[in-house]
Symmetry: C2
Subunit: 147 residues, 2 copies
């Protein structure tokens, strides 16, 4: 019932790329440093994100990674499913018939609903939303003590 580290890392990595100047390439190792993600592990994650088309990667000396499409066309759901595969909150939601009780199981209906809401939320939240919010949070004045 918990998001994998991979998924959390992937979101942070995408956010890191999205909040850098778009004209310069971002290098995986630097993302790892800034975001405190195990560097070699991150290369795997970047690879998945790249295969999903969410990142574009460039090899070689001046290489690095950049967004594969505009940030407002990348949803959180896409990011997470790119690295963790399809999300399901119970196994009967993998596909119909995966659990042979699903026709008569009242819990099944509940999971269908819960999953729908979760996926909806993630599908409607874009990387651009997050990036915007990230800036707000960074600029936010501290709830300071000295007036």
């Amino acid at each position: 019932m918990e998001l994998s580290r991979r998924g959390d890392y992937a979101v942070r990595a995408m956010l890191d790329v999205a909040t850098r100047p778009a004209d310069r390439m971002t290098v995986t190792k630097e993302i790892a440093l800034r975001q405190d993600i195990p560097p070699i592990f991150l290369t795997k994650i970047v690879s998945s994100l790249s295969q999903a088309g969410l990142l574009r990667t460039y090899r070689g000396v001046a290489g690095g990674v950049a967004l594969g499409k505009p940030a407002d066309q990348i949803s959180l759901l896409q990011i997470i499913e790119a690295v963790d595969g399809p999300i399901y909150i119970n196994r009967c939601l993998i596909r119909r018939g995966e659990c042979d009780r699903d026709r008569t199981c009242p819990a099944h209906e509940l999971w269908v609903q819960a999953q729908g809401e979760l996926l909806g939320l993630l599908a409607n939240k874009s990387l651009a939303d997050l990036a915007r919010r990230a800036q707000e949070l960074q600029q936010a004045p501290m709830a300071g003590f000295a007036a």
Copy 2:
């Protein structure tokens, strides 16, 4: 991101007890048979449910288990948390400060919201709701082919 087997079993076991005649005791082994749950594993689950007050258990020859309180006062959330511990969909929701980025992390806010919705759904669905729905589903006519 997936419910544990334990959690799924727990819901089914509770539902099984809730849909039996309340005057007779239900025996764990029989629940296991009916619900197709590994019997010894189920004893552990029953034990957790009992410690959480959701089941009352009785040892000895005429023993067994019964609901610990009325079915409409038992939420799905209680059942699942009784066997799996507190639900959190990302580790920053375990407690404040668990991830030191949580003050400035835009993803954190998303998880807070998602978790709120999920827990709300589970907290508002009672075992009685499920039991009622179970009866409906059993009585429901098949979407038959022969007219």
